[in-house]
Symmetry: C2
């Protein structure tokens, strides 16, 4: 993926920029020692690396505003960063940028169970939000796989999902309000303790905008009472397409599990080698979890069992207690770790209508043969959010490029069947140059003109989301 050349005029002014930042921020909030800025050179898309000019780590909205104002006035690109867990390069720096990190924005500000919200600074991690709510009997629904590390700031930027989003929706469905710092240093409040909005829904626009419009420093999040209980079942099939059909039929029937996870044979093999979860040897496994009162759980399991039985599964395993449940989830939870042992991989994130799962899985198999690279599928099947993992050898010249070409073909396929480039990882740099597969020129132009409003000089999170050439044109127009 091409990245733009850094602006020499900015690099030359690096000392002045750092001095200006130090002028408005506490001493320890500005980092420019190359040894230390190196820690920010990449996110979880580690194939791409570039250390920033400086890193700032503010503790308050006011400090973020000061840093943004300095960068805005001096024309310095800003790369917002949560925990750096983006798989799409959403937090990849440029050499001429200042990274604004949320690591120290880690305060829980208010818990209101009556009105079902929590207000936090956005540097808190996703998991810690649910942890702090546990004594109150509540939880925060979106649960990305990276929830131990990833921040609410990153979740909002990427409109993150997770296994439980089938029932509870993704971040945009659970975000009630946000404090946003604009490139001018202005601070605006969108939404609040109540979900409804008047006028244009800028909060909805902001969610998933990948740091292109502003930096969210505080958020009101919708919280939910913990369900009485939850029970997973494991269903094995001897064909990926039949497993896909089973997902489609469950969804069509109106049962709404909290999670439907899918693992195919290459994934199952890796998981067994790594975690000995005792999964059946078959072409595909579904993990379906339901929750509610004991009656509700029994009712839902019976209905799902009836649907699965019509498709002749090779195994149907129902958890009867907490140990069973842990055993069923054990393999799935270790899937990404297990795949890591197989070698290098890129993890995709296309989304398709659920009815298209069988066709899409078959076509991915065919593309795997064409490109000569193995692919493993492990993903949130219930909402059609696929995560094909393409395995390759980074040390063999040309393999990364082949893996990327294969990935691009899969994403084109997703769009072709009525789906979309990304479900929860975002566009970042990874899918930037595929945006015109999904959008016509007028659609993309409109998105970029909306960015013009929030970030007229295009300093926010450069070289992401929009095709490089198109975004360069907008930046140029702003400078003239």
């Amino acid at each position: 993926m091409a990245m733009p050349q850094p602006d020499e005029r900015i690099l030359e002014r690096a000392p002045q920029i750092v001095t200006a930042l130090r002028g408005v921020l506490p001493e320890d909030a500005v980092i420019d020692d190359p040894q230390e800025t190196l820690a920010y050179e990449c996110d979880a898309l580690t194939a791409y690396r570039c250390a920033p000019l400086a890193v700032v780590l503010p503790r308050t909205t006011a400090e973020v505003a000061e840093a943004m104002r300095v960068c805005g006035v001096m024309g310095v690109p800003v790369v917002p960063r949560g925990a750096g867990t983006s798989l799409a390069g959403g937090a990849l720096p440029t050499a001429d940028c200042v990274v604004i990190g949320t690591a120290r924005l880690n305060q829980v500000l208010e818990i209101d169970t009556d009105n079902r919200f929590i207000r936090v600074q956005t540097g808190v991690t996703n998991l810690s939000v649910s942890e702090v709510l546990e004594p109150h009997g509540f939880f925060y629904a979106p649960d990305p796989s990276s929830q131990l590390a990833c921040t609410i700031a990153g979740n909002i930027a990427m409109n993150s999902g997770g296994a439980h989003c089938l029932k509870y929706g993704v971040t945009t469905n659970n975000l009630m309000g946000a404090t946003v710092v604009l490139t001018t240093g202005e601070i605006v409040e969108l939404g609040g303790a109540e979900l409804a909005s008047s006028g244009l829904d800028l909060l909805g626009l902001l969610c998933g905008s990948e740091g292109q419009l502003g930096i969210v420093t505080e958020a009101f999040l919708r919280i939910l009472p913990r369900p009485e209980g939850a029970r997973p079942m494991l269903i094995g099939f001897d064909s990926p397409e039949v497993a896909g059909e089973c997902v489609a039929r469950i969804i069509r029937s109106g049962v709404l599990p909290v999670a439907i996870e899918y693992m195919d044979e290459p994934c199952l093999r890796a998981v067994e080698d790594f975690a000995q979860a005792g999964y059946p040897k078959c072409a595909a496994v579904l993990i379906v979890e339901v929750e509610g009162s004991p009656d509700e759980i029994a009712d839902q399991i019976a209905r799902i069992r009836a649907i699965a039985d019509e498709l002749e599964p090779v195994e149907f395993r129902e958890s009867r207690n907490a140990d069973d449940a842990l055993a069923i989830w054990k393999g799935r939870k270790s899937a990404f770790g297990a795949m890591g042992r197989l070698g290098d991989y890129i993890c995709l994130d296309g989304t398709v209508p659920v009815g298209q799962l069988p066709h899409t899985l078959r076509r991915i198999g065919e593309l795997s043969k064409q490109h000569g690279l193995e692919v493993a599928n492990v993903f949130h099947a219930g909402d059609g959010n696929m995560h094909p993992l393409i395995l390759f050898n980074a040390n063999e010249p040309g393999q990364l490029e082949r893996a990327e070409a294969f990935g691009a073909d899969i994403l084109r396929l997703c769009v072709e069947v009525g789906g979309c480039l990304t479900g929860e990882h975002g566009v970042g740099v990874e899918k930037r140059d595929l945006m015109d597969v999904q959008y016509d020129a007028p659609d993309l132009a409109m998105q970029m003109e909306v960015k013009d409003v929030f970030d007229p000089t295009w300093i926010l999170n450069p070289a992401k989301v929009f095709p490089l050439q198109a975004s360069a044109a907008h930046r140029l127009k702003a400078v003239q």
Copy 2:
């Protein structure tokens, strides 16, 4: 509410404008006979009336695009219109405008139960969508009170809700894609058969934008399988605040009814006189409906009964069959008709955090005494979406103004407790001049700059949503 003076230069060119429209549209699609345009002089906010310059009724997206292009080129304001059921004046014409009506965009284009969507032209009525889905065992969730008449176009423009939105979300949670005509006549596609999006969420921005950004001519809507059964219960309390507390406790407990409706004593009296529904004589009644399998229903009723019992209701009536259920709903369904017999009213639409319901109901009672006007409350309590009806006598000079002042005080109260000016009726002309109660100047400026992108000359749905002075400044800037 002040409306801007019509632009004389446009009125002078009326014949040329009509001729230009006739040049690109079928003969019967353009109406300029003052006898006929009179039918479009108002919507359901009948206190304000103004016949448009002309009305066009296209049958296809291409025809809407042609009409928009003509208006765009000639600089003529366009007022989009669904069925004209807006209670906030969202479809109120100006004398110098062309109304583009969706009455003939009434085709159902595709039903896909596997992928759970229906694709329609947006002039279809809300109820007819669920009717056409009934043989398939599916339904469309948002159900505004006006669902017999109101169109999907209007639902999208206002982000409409309804009694069942507590469980299923409002329009924005059920809208998957849209075909939009811009003021240039360009046609863009946002979203589609799959809910996820890449880049900026323009579909979310469009939903609820009240005709300020474009005209939606076709839509992909999320459809749901019909539940096995539904059962309402009626709970009477001798205090509005205790009824409000009951709502808050149900929500906090994690039970999720499909509907929690609230009626206070003035409303109950009117309903009894009109419909003899046999409701108890008390200060407030809740109708709570749950749905699911027989087991799920029984479980939820038991939990709600336990919560209500703690608050010592004067009555708890549980429906045991379809006749019981009809009897419970009968009064609520006739509430607006019943109130109409009491005289003139304005129906508000503020939204508050559910925990603030008791306080807000008490303050509305106090405001009623201060303003010397009676108020009746009948609304969707579960999501805090209040609909106070202020009763007044339109024939007595000054009463409309007093009712409006009372209404403005209620909406200020909603914002003050952390709520919002509108839940589902939109801002329209009604709340236009209160937007600065909810938003600071920079917040509002940002919304208006986003409108600049879609509608640079501000011809779409003039004098709505944004304070008159502010929107006049944007229009002026565009013309210069």
